[in-house]
């Protein structure tokens, strides 16, 4: 039986716009997956939807699909994208318009929803679902009035169902990133709902694809320097029916696929490696075997899995407060000492003004902002950037702080520059509240429409 080639085309909302097109045109693939959603993205989309009932999904998707659709239709490549955001219906309506405008016939759209619990939140709270914060243990009721978005992570099953119903393009709300890859494998190979090792293998494939080029040479500490990152090839999983797969990329593209580089992505953003939990299964990352199979080709095999838990992860976004961060650059000589002196002046001024903050934080970029370096080891640096930030529940003290940096240009230590960007902007903080919910309380909805 032939393998299924799944290409990761987008690691996050804001990733390279042309990556999906390159995945589709630079070599043979069967499926394209596109991941647009991060925790904070959902709250931005909820805000957009509140202003306009037809908004609430990433517009990048439509721009990319306009270019992709003729090629997809011609080659029969399927697409799975969590581009529905908080409004999969509006997203699919807009995509239908695009398909019609391009004069393409016979494409079917699958829509997976039911993840968005915002409208059901009070009902669910009343029924005793507490949405306790997985980190702090606090119940959601403590911040109920500040909640901006509530989304359960759906798994691969409803997406596989949409494919089984004939969908060529599947648009979803919040689903697991790994599910986008697992679903077409379940569909193509008829993997059973309790074939844990196979589901786990597909989940590992999804985990390796979900961050785009980070699996094929991008941001790779071990492989650096990596050739031709300007044309980096995004990763492709070439999967066999038994779940074994090769991670690779299109020949001629930049980047590199190596065992060491793939290992970096395997351990990226995981907890207990023996129990990587998704709605579809539990995956044991300590069973994964990686082996070089050729240039830019790594064989992944041996993956073991088990049943999932009875709960879904829920991602909740809520309004937290305000922050602002400003910078000033101090030049040689004694750049570090001068940046330090400026910090001290700022702290004194903020104290004199009687402003109250939850946090005041200073860093010295170039002199240990990412690591507390001993000043004695620094030498007399050519320049140091003072990066000074404040955070508060109220807007007013943060707003007042933003006026305090500019006076230092004339009132502070000498050799200051780098302030052309002007006063720092006050930013609203949307924070993330991870929780779990009984999976029976969440009902995935699947529909497939002809265009």
């Amino acid at each position: 039986m032939k393998t299924v080639r799944i290409a990761g085309g987008q690691g996050f909302w804001g990733d390279a716009l042309d990556a999906p097109y390159r995945q589709v045109t630079e070599g043979p693939i069967d499926v394209l997956t596109l991941d647009y959603l991060a925790e904070v993205t959902m709250s931005i989309l909820q805000k957009q939807k509140a202003r306009d009932p037809n908004a609430g999904y990433p517009q990048d998707f439509l721009v990319q699909m306009e270019q992709l659709l003729p090629v997809l239709a011609q080659r029969g490549i399927k697409v799975l994208a969590n581009a529905g955001g908080v409004n999969p219906t509006a997203c699919s309506a807009a995509l239908t318009d695009t398909i019609r405008r391009l004069g393409l016939k016979g494409l079917r759209l699958g829509i997976v929803s039911g993840d968005d619990l915002m409208g059901r939140l009070d009902e669910l709270l009343q029924r005793g679902h507490e949405f306790r914060n997985m980190d702090t243990g606090h119940p959601l009721s403590t911040i109920r009035d500040r909640v901006l978005a509530v989304n359960a992570y759906l798994g691969a099953a409803p997406m596989a169902e949409a494919l089984a119903m004939g969908a060529d393009i599947v648009i979803t709300g919040r689903v697991t990133d790994t599910g986008l890859t697992l679903a077409p494998l379940i569909h193509a190979f008829g993997w059973a709902a309790d074939a844990w090792d196979l589901l786990a293998a597909g989940t590992v494939a999804g985990h390796l694809l979900e961050c785009g080029a980070q699996a094929s040479g991008g941001n790779s500490l071990v492989d650096w320097p990596v050739p031709d990152l300007a044309h980096v090839g995004y990763p492709i999983a070439d999967v066999a029916p038994d779940g074994t797969f090769d991670l690779t990329k299109h020949p001629g593209s930049g980047g590199r696929v190596s065992v060491a580089g793939v290992t970096e992505q395997l351990v990226y953003e995981i907890g207990d490696p023996k129990t990587y939990i998704t709605p579809d299964c539990t995956t044991d990352f300590t069973t994964v075997s990686l082996r070089r199979r050729g240039k830019d080709r790594v064989r992944v095999s041996g993956v073991k899995g088990g049943p999932p838990t009875d709960r879904f992860k829920v991602s909740i976004a809520y309004f937290y407060g305000y922050k602002a961060v400003g910078t000033l650059v101090y030049a040689w000589p004694q750049a570090y000492a001068k940046a330090r002196a400026a910090e001290a002046i700022l702290r004194t001024r903020l104290g004199d003004l009687g402003l109250r903050f939850e946090s005041v934080h200073a860093e010295f970029v170039g002199a240990g902002a990412t690591w507390a370096e001993r000043p004695a080891n620094l030498g007399d640096l050519p320049e140091v950037e003072l990066r000074f930030g404040v955070r508060a529940p109220e807007r007013a003290p943060v707003e007042r702080f933003t006026r305090e940096l500019a006076p230092l240009i004339l009132n502070g230590p000498p050799g200051v520059t780098g302030y052309a960007a002007g006063r720092p902007k006050v930013q609203e903080i949307v924070a993330f509240w991870p929780a779990l919910i009984d999976r029976r309380a969440v009902e995935a909805k699947v529909e497939v429409i002809a265009t």
Binding site: E39, V40, M134, D135, N219, L221, V222, A260, T263, E264, Q265, L266, V267, Y268, E269, I270, G271, D272, P273, K274, F285, T286, T287, V288, S289, L290, G302, Y320, K323, V325, S359, H361, E363, V365, A369, T370, W371, A372, R387, G389, V390, R391, I429, V430, A431, F432, P434
Partner: protein
């Protein structure tokens, strides 16, 4: 025969990648060669990593082993000044905690 030992930064023996989930960070530490893995297991303990990041990481550090890919996974709680969007740090998402760990000196 006495074996000569020397202190080297972890960077010589391992590579790493780190990331975030809320206010929790993880660092995957990977041996550059199979013979280095036992050394990592012995010397790069959760307690030592917690000391290494003292002041930066507020909560406990947990360590998991992945001998299949000769890697250790460290989970650092309360590591990101409240988490990605709340944090005032340059490295609000813990992306370079990986290289910060590779500064640690080990005996080889």
């Amino acid at each position: 025969m006495t074996k000569r030992t020397r202190r080297v930064p972890l960077l010589e023996l391992a590579h790493a990648r780190s990331g975030d989930k809320g206010d929790t960070a993880n660092i995957g530490l990977i041996a550059r060669a199979p013979e280095y893995y036992p050394l990592l297991v012995r010397q790069v303990t959760a307690a030592r990593v917690a000391r290494h990041f003292k002041g930066l990481v507020k909560g406990p550090v947990k360590r998991y082993e992945l001998p299949n890919v000769r890697a250790l996974n460290f989970v650092l709680y309360g590591a990101l000044d409240g988490g990605g969007t709340i944090s005032l740090r340059t490295d609000a998402q813990g992306k370079v905690l990986s290289t910060a760990l590779l500064r640690m000196l080990v005996t080889r």
